[in-house]
């Protein structure tokens, strides 16, 4: 661990030294950054993950269009080095506020929105070849987990089955967690906290002998890494519950194959064996959800178009069938719709039935 830290620090110093070398020779200071866009990612058939291509872009300091991002990236590097030196961690939000300031005698803020500092940090991960966690910058805690699992986290022993109604809050850095006991047959991940609370209240993790994990919307890196570790280290199947809409399916896609912007760390986050439990378009018929359909808006059509064209979905006949049906249905549905058949329908009927029948999408 210490060795890794020294290496990260060294990498950061190298970034600074490279820029300094340009300055000393009187040239335009340059950073070479791998391009993070759809054009520069590939779907690797073998590993079934999105991986990054080799295209890079040069970012110059003396260029009106580049200067801002250039300085933001170097600023992020200096911040990360500071953090490693004092061995403290900052959240993305805190990092944003550390970087946000107005340049003297101007109307220019070094960063205006958190999205800018987030991107600078993501760029830095690529240049310095270190993950955000290695740079001592964490995301906010956003997810909960419950199950018959005992872990050690920073010297504390935590039992995930004895944490009351809130469950264990998943930290953004799960690398240092040590699993002491894992008694579960599978993991159910859901994008909504409301459904998690339902399952937790009904003690589904106890009844079905599983682990339940939720995020709020898109899964954070910490959640994705935790899911991957449970899957790889403890051979637990991962089942995913999302709303029946293109956005929900996109969350599933990121979880399974990795995302475009984080393609460089897919092998540490993606879970190619993850399965979608629901909702599927077939569920609408099967569970009589027609009354609860919500009409599509323009953005939904756009998003559906986008994901149905992803290379990794293109080859799946089953997925194309789902896309086609959704396009015709011109509507979406939420997980909460299931509760129309009774408050505990999800816990008592839907989930057990689906898992028993292996009724899921790959």
């Amino acid at each position: 661990m210490k060795k890794l830290k020294a290496e990260t620090k060294n990498n950061l110093k190298k970034v600074g030294a490279g820029v300094l070398k340009d300055i000393d020779s009187g040239a335009n200071p340059t950073l070479e950054i791998p391009i993070r866009s759809l054009a520069n990612v590939k779907f690797d058939e073998k590993s079934k993950m999105i991986t990054m291509g080799s295209s890079t872009a040069k970012r110059f300091f003396f260029n009106v269009g580049h200067v801002r991002k250039f300085v933001q990236t170097i600023e992020a590097a200096a911040l990360a080095k500071d953090l490693i030196d004092v061995n403290k961690h900052l959240s993305l939000r805190e990092a944003f506020y550390r970087m946000k300031r107005t340049l003297p005698d101007s109307q220019i803020n070094l960063v205006d929105e958190q999205e800018e500092s987030n991107q600078a940090i993501e760029d830095l991960e690529l240049i310095a070849d270190a993950s955000r966690e290695q740079l001592h910058i964490n995301a906010n805690k956003m997810g909960s987990v419950a199950g018959e699992v005992v872990i050690e986290d920073k010297g504390d022993t935590v039992d995930w089955s004895k944490l009351g109604s809130g469950g264990y809050a998943i930290p953004s850095n799960v690398e240092d967690i040590i699993f002491k006991k894992v008694n579960a047959k599978f993991v159910v991940y859901m994008e909504k906290a409301a459904e998690w609370e339902r399952l937790h209240e009904d003690r589904v993790w106890d009844k079905l002998n599983c682990i339940i994990i939720s995020s709020q919307g898109q899964a954070t890196r910490g959640i994705r890494r935790l899911l991957q570790r449970l899957h790889v280290e403890h051979k637990l199947p991962i089942y995913v519950l999302t709303d029946l809409d293109p956005y929900g399916w996109y969350i599933y896609s990121v979880l399974k194959f990795g995302s475009i912007s984080l393609a460089h760390i897919s092998e540490r986050l993606a879970i190619p064996d993850a399965k979608l439990l629901g909702l599927t378009v077939d569920d609408v018929e099967k569970y009589n959800l027609k009354k609860h359909l919500i009409k599509f808006e323009d953005v939904d059509f756009k998003r559906l178009d986008q994901i149905s064209n992803y290379e990794w979905f293109k080859k799946s006949k089953e997925w194309q069938r789902q896309f086609q049906m959704m396009k015709q249905m011109k509507a979406k549905a939420e997980l909460a719709a299931l509760s129309s058949h009774g408050i505990t329908f999800l816990s008592d009927k839907y989930l057990p039935e689906k898992i028993k029948n292996k009724d899921f999408l790959d």
Partner: protein, 607 residues
């Protein structure tokens, strides 16, 4: 039921009579530019100034003009508005007798009830009673108008009576002609000829006198000095006879020796300053006539517009029509009234730029015999007309027009406008409907010109400023059709450019195709619009050399300043990463910044 009375044609004929031109214009004064009190004042000054400048140019004298407008008495007119805000009548309380007019009918004034701060005027019209209450609070008058219990909307127009005097140093008018020149509409030397001049129709100054007498009842006072005699005439226009009615007339030897005409009128109107005003008209006149000295003594003080050159403009010359574009109707009239004995002679003598060779060619193409022109059968007139258009002819003579020239356009603009750069383009003459015309354009850029408004257009026809009806004018169409973005300005589709720009356009021709008698807009013949566009594009390219250089310099400066802001930030971060002192890094970065855009990886140069 009463029996309908039949009216015979004879009876109808009795009711018909010839309407004199003066009478016609009394009823249609809007056609002459007197449709509202503001415009009326401007028109009076314009007509007098046009005449003075024309006379001086023709006599070869450097014009010196004195214009004076003095307010004699101020009144307020209250316009009565309908629910849509349209004017339907007016109320005047000051002056001789309170007056209320609504829907072209004068109401009968009944009485005024006065109390301390309030006066109530009562009018009647048929069954209706109108009440006007005037209240005074701190010297401010407020009025309300009621028709029964209905309150009517009103708006306020300050109106005054003005004395307008225009004096020139021209050759003067001989005493015998003074009543004709001033007291008769459609009299003048300019109507029947093809020659570039300011006035054309012989209506202008007598129209002004007519307006003066309609609104004030006062006479016009004219003093005209030729080298020999000085005539002082006081006259009014006899509307039904279209001739001058002389009040007094005195002719004596010219004692001081200076020549010129002085006219004094009294008229009702509204005086304003600003975009469409007398000072603006005079300022623009000074731009297009930089050889003239004009002093103006207005209600708000004196202004003087000085000469920028002592050189007289080229004198315009009278020409015969050019065969291209002569309309068939005019052509057949020319055929029947010509003195030429045969068609060949007619073509050579009555047209410009037609020699024996070309006359033969026209006859050959039309397959006509060389007969007497008035013997030409109707169907052959068209043949001849068509043949004329097919022969290649030289352009009309260029020296008949009195153009300003690029040098004088620049001088005129420079002396009256505070801008930082000027360009001018004088196009060679072209032809529309057989009339030679020339387009001249000037552009003023930067300085005190407003950055975020659409460009102002100054339009001139034979050196006379056009202040009204911009949107009907060929010049506006041409300005809108030019792509100004090429020359560094912003422009939305189908509108004028935006930026610190002023566009000067001069249309010079032996005949100006105005869209109406008000003479405020040039008709948009395709040939004219095309020429204006070419001139504007030419001038735009010239200006762009300057604008581009300026924008580039600005861009380089902005760019350098932007990097200067980021340099300390970068240096500080780099110090943390490398432990090299930030001052050293700043120093080196500042040095690189001075290299500007040429550095590798810098932004691409703007095209």
């Amino acid at each position: 039921m009463t029996e309908a009375k039949l009216i015979t044609a004879e009876e109808m004929a009795k009711a018909m009579r010839e309407v004199s031109i003066a009478e016609f214009f009394e009823k249609n004064r809007h056609l002459l530019g007197y449709e509202n009190p503001t415009k009326a004042l401007i028109t009076i000054v314009k007509e007098a100034v046009d005449n003075s400048l024309d006379a001086a140019d023709e006599a070869g004298i450097l014009p010196t003009l004195k214009v004076s407008v003095k307010e004699l008495e101020a009144r307020t007119i209250y316009n009565i508005l309908d629910t849509n805000g349209y004017e339907v009548g007016e109320v005047i309380l000051e002056g001789r007798k309170p007056m209320l007019k609504i829907r072209d009918r004068y109401a009968k004034y009944e009485e005024t009830k006065k109390s301390e701060n309030k006066s109530e005027y009562i009018f009647s019209a048929g069954q209706k009673i109108y009440n006007v209450t005037e209240t005074k609070t701190n010297g401010d008058k407020q009025i309300e108008l009621f028709s029964g219990t209905d309150k009517l909307k009103i708006s306020k127009t300050p109106l005054g009576r003005f004395r307008i005097t225009v004096e020139d140093n021209g050759p003067g008018i001989i005493p015998k002609n003074v009543p004709l020149a001033f007291g008769k509409l459609l009299y003048g030397s300019k109507f029947h000829r093809l020659r570039q001049s300011r006035g054309t129709q012989g209506i202008g100054i007598s129209g002004a006198i007519l307006y003066s007498q309609l609104t004030t009842g006062k006479t016009a006072k004219i003093i005209s000095s030729t080298e020999k005699e000085t005539a002082s005439v006081e006259l009014r226009i006899d509307v039904s006879k279209n001739q001058a009615y002389i009040i007094s007339e005195k002719t004596e030897k010219n004692k001081q020796g200076s020549t010129g005409v002085r006219i004094e009128l009294e008229a009702e109107g509204r005086y304003i300053e600003g975009k469409q005003s007398i000072p603006e008209f005079l300022k623009q006149t000074a731009i297009s006539n930089s050889h003239a000295k004009i002093t103006y003594d207005g209600p708000n003080g004196k202004v003087s517009f000085d000469r920028a050159t002592e050189k007289l403009p080229v004198r315009s010359q009278e020409i015969k029509p050019h065969p291209y574009g002569v309309e068939l109707g005019i052509f057949s009239r020319m055929l029947s009234s010509t003195k030429a004995r045969n068609l060949k002679a007619f073509l050579q003598n009555d047209f410009t730029k037609v020699g024996p060779k070309n006359a033969n060619e026209i006859l050959r193409l039309s397959k006509l015999e060389n007969i007497k022109p008035d013997k030409l059968p109707h169907e052959d007139i068209e043949k001849l007309h068509r043949a004329m258009q097919m022969v290649k002819l030289p352009s009309p003579p260029t020296d008949v027009l009195s153009i300003m020239g690029e040098d004088l356009i620049l001088k005129g603009l420079q002396k009256e406008l505070e801008a930082e750069h000027f360009v001018a383009v004088s196009r060679p003459p072209a032809v529309y409907r057989g009339m030679p015309f020339a387009i001249e354009v000037g552009l003023a850029y930067g300085g005190k010109l407003s950055n975020d408004q659409t460009a102002q257009i100054l339009r001139f026809a034979n050196k006379v400023p056009l202040l009204y009806h911009l949107s009907d004018c060929a010049t506006a169409q041409a300005v809108e059709e030019v792509d100004w973005r090429r020359y560094g300005f912003t422009q939305s589709v189908g509108s004028s450019p935006q930026g610190p720009l002023l566009i000067f356009i001069h249309f010079a021709s032996v005949w100006v195709p105005y869209t109406s008698e008000g003479k405020q807009a040039i008709a948009n013949y395709p040939e004219i619009v095309k020429e204006i566009k070419l001139a504007l594009q030419d001038a735009g390219r010239k200006l762009y050399l300057y604008v581009n250089e300026k924008m580039r310099a600005h861009h380089v400066k902005m760019r350098r300043e932007l990097f200067e802001k980021y340099i300390p930030e970068l240096a500080e971060s780099l110090e943390k990463l490398t432990e090299v002192k930030k001052e050293k890094i700043v120093e080196k970065l500042v040095k690189i910044n001075k290299k500007g855009e040429k550095i590798e990886g810098g932004d691409k140069k703007q095209s």
